[in-house]
């Protein structure tokens, strides 16, 4: 088969010109306008290129398949994911990361041209199949890079969710829940669970939900708030919603959101006063000062 002969030739060519290829490749990477000498040392770049090239040759020699998903290419894939992940953390842009593989094209093609200068058809075939191979490897690099970024984002998101839902004890039997940021269903779930756990462990009978830090209240957010209030009520704790800004009060009325018989207060201080009154407590000024 024709494709087999071209594949068979590629490993030999690359092997023969390995040193030369490495040198031109590295110099290409360094000379590129996307090169970032501040982010990565030349020695490290050279080492990465060396590693990739030897794994590349190994894979080419081991199998006639250009299918980079196959086990033959596992070594190359490993090295690429390593490099891609390290670049993502080093602060390389997607383009710069992808160029690691794509910049191999030019040196590799000149080797092929040199070797197959007399056979036009073979030259074209070889160039085409090599392009396909390098493209796939480049795309694989991008995929890993993207995955790394996505993991990073989802980890941050999770941390944010946990960070921003503290339940604090204001007084004996009075809990406060200062909400910061938008309430979506997954956050409401976390908030609700936290609040209910705290109600059980502290035996609180009153919880103040402060929404000063919630930027907008739409019907969905209101629904989530009411759900939390209903769940707390089932556990035997009353809820007060405080920190309602004028803008939000207007929105709530315009949207026709029915807050039912939930107590609402403009500020946390007002809500706390209600809480104290409910507990039969009073704050008085100590002896008057002269």
């Amino acid at each position: 088969m024709e494709s087999n002969t071209t594949v068979a030739k590629l490993p030999e060519m690359v092997k023969k010109h390995q040193q030369n290829l490495l040198a031109t490749w590295v110099s290409h990477q360094l000379a590129s306008k996307h090169s970032r000498p501040g982010l990565i040392k030349e020695s490290e770049l050279r080492q990465q290129s060396q590693q990739f090239l030897s794994a590349f040759i190994q894979a080419l020699q081991n199998g006639a398949s250009f299918e980079i998903g196959s086990s033959t290419w596992a070594g190359v894939r490993d090295i690429l994911s390593q490099i891609s992940r390290s670049r993502a953390t080093q602060g390389f842009s997607p383009t710069e990361t992808a160029l690691f593989v794509f910049s191999l094209k030019q040196p590799l093609f000149s080797v092929i041209r040199q070797e197959l200068a007399l056979d036009g058809v073979a030259l074209a075939d070889q160039t085409w199949s090599t392009t396909l191979l390098l493209d796939e490897l480049g795309l694989y690099t991008m995929e890993v890079y993207q995955k790394g970024r996505e993991e990073f984002i989802s980890r941050q998101q999770q941390e944010l969710t946990e960070l921003s839902t503290p339940v604090v004890s204001l007084w004996e039997g009075v809990l406060a829940l200062p909400l910061i940021g938008t309430l979506d269903s997954s956050r409401t779930q976390v908030v609700m669970e936290n609040l209910l756990e705290q109600i059980v462990s502290t035996g609180a009978s009153l919880a103040i939900i402060d929404i000063t830090g919630v930027p907008t209240v739409d019907t969905l957010v209101a629904q989530h708030l009411l759900k939390t209030v209903a769940a707390a009520r089932l556990m035997g704790a009353d809820c007060i919603i405080s920190g309602i800004r004028p803008q939000i009060a207007q929105t709530i009325v315009h949207l026709g959101v029915e807050l039912g018989n939930v107590i609402t207060k403009a500020s946390l201080a007002d809500a706390f006063a209600v809480a104290l009154e409910r507990s039969g407590l009073m704050i008085t000024r100590a002896a008057s000062r002269p």
């Binding site: 779930q189 669970e193 756990e197 035996g203 209903a230 769940a231 556990m235």
Partner: protein, 129 residues
């Protein structure tokens, strides 16, 4: 047949659900409880569900129904000791047990029941027994 015990304590009835509820058990409880309220002329019912781990819409509705029935028979109902997971489940099911009072534990539940009954008695203009 399996039954949930109903204990009389003064003018209140105590129901402690210690096993997982199934539908028949819930219906039996509803039956027994209404009978006992009439029999003992109870003023309040306290249902402790702290051991209840699994609820479905039927059990949730049953709790609400018991509350409504007791009210018709002139007895207040307080449900105590609901677990967080159960509370979340009920809210997600859209059952917020509007007619039933709730408290965190038996102690607070009894306090609430006493206050409730006292208020009702004074509100009706009758002297407390």
């Amino acid at each position: 047949m399996e039954r949930i015990p109903i204990l009389k304590m003064g003018e209140y009835l105590l129901v402690t659900i210690q096993v997982d509820m199934h539908d028949q058990l819930a219906l039996t409880l509803q039956d027994d409880l209404t009978n006992r309220i009439v029999e003992t002329r109870a003023k309040g019912v306290l249902i402790d569900i702290s051991s209840l781990e699994i609820v479905d819409s039927f059990i949730g509705r049953m709790l609400g129904n018991i509350g409504a029935m007791s009210r018709i028979l002139d007895a207040e109902t307080v449900v105590v000791g609901m677990r967080p997971a159960v509370a979340i489940t009920l809210v997600e099911l859209g059952l917020s047990l509007k007619g039933v009072r709730t408290a965190l534990n038996v102690e607070k539940g009894m306090d609430l029941l006493r206050a409730q009954v006292a208020r009702k008695v004074s509100g009706n203009g009758r002297s407390p027994d």
